[in-house]
């Protein structure tokens, strides 16, 4: 093999590894085919990894559009894919028109300010008070879920490590975990809202109360998978590795950070992945009830609205929620691949 083709093939291997690392395995056959590997095999692989999913999505869309029109509700027939797509475009267009309005507002304010200053009057800046667009709602939801997820992880990982290290701790926490784990976010939310109103009483709040309530509810529901998986990961550290730590007389902190932590990392990440998924699911319900601006509130407002577009708008939200949830999961897999020593499965 010449050095030229060798460097070519290592470049290809690197490309394939990068794609796999980013969770985009489905493009690997395309790379292989483009670089001249047996096309028949790669085509079959490609047909399975891309063709079959496309086909199943197509079947789903056909069934949906054919069945939707036949269902009549009080606010018109159930929208098909085309109506939902139109509505999605309308929401995007609305976002941009709202942004232009906002920009125009600030331009007007700027000229007004100059006039005020020229006339020697005091100027008080005003904020644009237009309604949040669909993208604003998504952004708020993402912020809320990450805030909740962060709180949950900060609580769950240390407690999980303690539970995994000490059977006594495990016995202490186990009943609490068992009892609180199955509780629905809808049950937590009223408690959290009352507590937040009582305890979070700053004059100049950094966050909205509704934001705090939703975030805390998300963390209360999403900390369990991380906690359970962390403690399992820590408890199942290879005894040989612990023996190494004993022989080296590693101090407790080194033992936790250098031996136990890295070895439990794959399971900790499995827990975090599950937690983020649960958190995203819970968030919509929490936002609906807490009236925190976000996708949940959007769904609720549309429902209250009861117009002919309600169903399409809610369906756009459903797909948005689903796609973002999927993207978050991918993100966690990629993170896991970067930090942990064993390649995570992309299930």
């Amino acid at each position: 093999m010449s050095s030229d083709s060798l460097s070519f093939s290592t470049g290809k291997a690197r490309a394939i590894r990068t794609f796999e690392g980013l969770g985009l395995e489905i493009f690997v056959p395309a790379i292989r085919m483009a670089t001249g590997e047996d096309p028949k095999d790669q085509f079959r692989e490609l047909a399975r990894s891309i063709g079959v999913p496309i086909l199943s999505i197509a079947i789903f869309l056909v069934l949906w559009s054919s069945l939707a029109a036949s269902v009549q509700t009080s606010i018109g027939s159930v929208p098909g894919p085309t109506e939902v797509w139109t509505e999605a475009k309308a929401l995007v267009a609305e976002h941009y028109s709202e942004r232009t309005k906002q920009a125009e507002f600030y331009v007007r304010m700027e000229t007004l300010k100059e006039k005020y200053v020229a006339e020697g009057k005091t100027w008080r800046a005003r904020k644009y008070s237009g309604k949040p667009t669909y993208f604003d709602q998504i952004w708020t939801s993402l912020q809320t879920v990450f805030a909740g997820f962060l709180i949950a992880s900060l609580i769950a990982v240390p407690i999980g490590i303690l539970c995994g290290l000490s059977p006594t701790m495990n016995a202490a926490f186990s009943p609490l975990i068992q009892i609180f784990k199955p509780v629905s976010p809808l049950a937590w939310l009223p408690i959290v809202m009352i507590l937040v109103s009582a305890l979070y009483t700053s004059e100049n709040p950094l966050f909205e109360k509704s934001f705090i309530s939703s975030a805390v509810t998300v963390s209360l529901c999403s900390l369990w998978p991380t906690l359970v998986n962390t403690s399992l990961g820590v408890a199942s550290v290879d005894p040989d590795h612990l023996n190494v730590a004993k022989v080296l007389k590693l101090p407790w902190t080194t033992r936790v950070f250098k031996i136990v932590g890295p070895s439990a990392l794959p399971l900790i990440f499995t827990g975090l992945r599950l937690s983020l998924g649960v958190g995203w699911m819970v968030l919509i319900a929490a936002e609906m009830l807490a009236q925190n601006p976000g996708l949940g509130k959007f769904v609720w407002d549309m429902f209250q609205n009861g117009s002919s577009q309600t169903l399409s708008q809610i369906m756009v939200a459903v797909f948005t929620i689903g796609i973002i949830g999927f993207a978050l999961d991918r993100l966690m897999i990629i993170l896991q691949r970067f930090v942990s020593f064993d390649g995570a499965a992309s299930a």
Binding site: D238, D240, H241, N243, V244, K246, V247, L248, K249, L250, T254, K258, I259, P262, S263, L265, S340, F341, D342
Partner: protein, 299 residues
């Protein structure tokens, strides 16, 4: 001349000494005594091999010396100090390598160096780790992860890590038993040269009599457990370095191998005829059979 229990010259103070050491697991009726009344002395700089069948309590013995297990009775002393727990003065090479998969070759050795030589500067410690990685011939692979290495290379890392602690004694727990025959042969000669260069006291556990004869100054068979105890000492007076190919035809080598093998076979027969007291509980399952019960079974 080879069965020589009193080879210790009196002016040599034993470096490692096990005195009436017994170890049992479990309580009450489930109590199994694995090792019974072990007396053992090892001199400084000596290479001692303990050979025995699998399951005879060899690993328990090495774990007792390492301090990972505590003896029920008896005392273990190293260099005049009683052993109460694990410590870096006894470098151990585990059968399963026990390398940390998230650390590189250098990282694995560095972990040991950092833990033992806390007073040295970071630079000195890195140098030290590097030196041991080079010593086992892995300089080129220093930045590879264990999963990228072959079994033989992994075991070398494990040896480098144990040596990097600069231990008083090196404990090898069946270090080569998971390797293929060819890798095994190479590593055997490497272990011999490392031992010769480092002048460490070594206790090696093995199930391979040839390996023991090739490497050790003295061989002690372990009578199979339960209640395993040490057999007579066999001295290996072969000249070093021992060449694997040449030594095979050495009459002395053949004689020692014969004696040890004979001894091991004899004690294993003895144990088999006396019968082990430990009975395995068999599961109470009946085979699923579609035949009606009236018909005699084919068996």
């Amino acid at each position: 001349m080879s069965v020589a229990s009193a080879t210790l010259t009196t002016e040599e103070r034993p470096y490692l000494r096990l005195d009436h050491v017994s170890k049992s697991f479990g309580e009450g009726p489930n109590r199994t005594e694995v090792l019974s009344e072990i007396d053992l002395t090892v001199n400084q700089g000596e290479f001692l091999a303990i050979v025995g069948f699998s399951g005879s309590g060899k690993s328990t013995l090495i774990n007792l010396i390492a301090g990972l297990l505590q003896a029920n009775e008896g005392t273990i002393e190293l260099d005049g100090q009683p052993i109460t727990g694990p410590g870096p003065d006894r470098g151990i090479v585990f059968q399963s390598y026990a390398l940390l998969p998230w650390l590189t070759v250098q990282g694995n050795v560095q972990l040991a160096v950092d833990a033992v030589f806390k007073k040295e500067s970071a630079q000195e410690r890195a140098k030290r780790a590097e030196r041991y990685v080079e010593m086992v011939g892995l300089g080129e692979a220093a930045w590879k992860y264990p999963k990228e290495l072959s079994g033989g290379m992994r075991q070398r890392v494990s040896v480098a890590r144990a040596l990097a602690m600069d231990p008083k004694i090196l404990l090898l727990d069946e270090p080569l038993s998971a390797l293929d025959a060819l890798t095994r042969a190479t590593l055997q000669s490497e272990i011999e040269s490392i031992w010769a260069a480092s002048k460490k006291t070594v206790v090696m556990i093995t199930n391979d009599v040839d390996e023991a004869i090739l490497l050790a100054d003295r061989i002690i068979p372990l009578r199979p457990g339960p209640r395993a105890s040490l057999g007579p000492h066999f001295d290996v007076p072969l000249a070093r370095p021992r060449d694997r190919a040449a030594v095979n035809d050495d009459p002395e080598f053949k004689k020692i191998r014969n004696e040890i093998t004979q001894y091991l076979i004899a004690v294993s027969r003895q144990t088999a005829s006396t019968g082990s007291k430990r009975r395995l509980k068999k599961p109470d399952v009946k085979p699923i059979d579609l035949r009606p019960p009236s018909l005699p079974s084919a068996r």
